[in-house]
Amino acid sequence: MHKLTMVVNGQQMTAEIEARTLLSGFLRDRLGLTGTHIGCDTSQCGACMVLVNGQAVKACSVLAADLDGVEVTTIEGMANPDGSLGHIQQAFQDCHGLQCGFCTPGMVMSTAALLAENPKPTEDEVRHSLEGNICRCTGYQNIVRAVMAASGQDQGTKATAHV
């Protein structure tokens, strides 16, 4: 067993874990943070994307034991303190950047990593930054619009969805 210390969504925690515990399993099964979705579980789909020290990482492809001392942000850490949707989440809702929503936590986390590094990305940069996130519903158009809107560049393209 390995002793693990992490700051998850701003809260310090410690745990004893098996070496083989993946970050995705640790977050979901031990901490109950089930917003981090396990889609393919083969590091293809990006539904399990979280931030590790601010960088996008697929939680299904990293050992929790290798992350002792880091800061992790999950989708549960993206809402505003009062529980309302954070601005990236709100942009996804406004632009209808999801259909079934399964991939959305990963999309939001990749967006957070992108905008932290590049606050005003071009559409090409958005698409490049989402190459590790697969959505099987939307065709990506409204996801890209949501990211552009979240960066304050909505250019009147939001709310194109049919309701």
Binding site: Q55, A56, E131
Partner: protein, 262 residues
Amino acid sequence: MYDFNFLKPTSVADAVAALIDEDAQPLSGGQTLIPAMKARLNAPGTLVSLTGIPELVGVCCAGDTLVIGAATTHAQVARDAAGYFPGLAALAGQIGDPAVRNRGTIGGSLANNDPSACYPAAALGTGATIVTDRREIAADDFFQGMFTTALENGEIITSVRFPIPQASAYAKFVQPASRFALTAAFVARYASGVRVAITGASENGVFRWAEAEAALSSDFSAEAISGLSASAHEMIADLHGTAAYRAHLVGVMTRRAVTAAG
């Protein structure tokens, strides 16, 4: 995946000592090894993480050589090498996706020697030197076929030394599902001549395209190799492309790389 012992040393010496155990394997970014372990294709008794060793991380320019620590992530190379060796930085920025680049390392990629990986093309295409805990290995001697290298059991890469070319570029035909190279070419021009390395195409892994190197060394232009075609012999054939298709791509991607290098 099966459980294992996990060690995270903070020095190369401690890592090498831990890897004397025959059932131990090094773990770098884990973007290949962990999925393989989850699929039970690999089940080491002990994993020795190399991500907690400061001396293995960093990009440093020394004259006409760029030295990259083995545990440096692709994302860091894409960022920190751009001012010294833009062809290499651009290659690093095309590996996988952002999350893979945030974890995957140059040493891990070279040690794995996936036949479709990007970094082997840069190492072979520049005549880089692979530095390990015990010796230095020329790239021409390092790659020994699909998933096979000159590394001994327990030997770890500590850094890679790239001679910085006058001009270089990497042209990659992406296999969009895996984001590996379906076929890709790294071209580098030096005062002494041109080197061309091809990845993703051969069943024997990364290789140098000697005919193109000879033609480009006397005339560095896409036209100089327009009449050359690579042989389909021992090219990879799978559902993504036939051997003949990959052989064709060798020429196409090499010409694109030459044009991009300018």
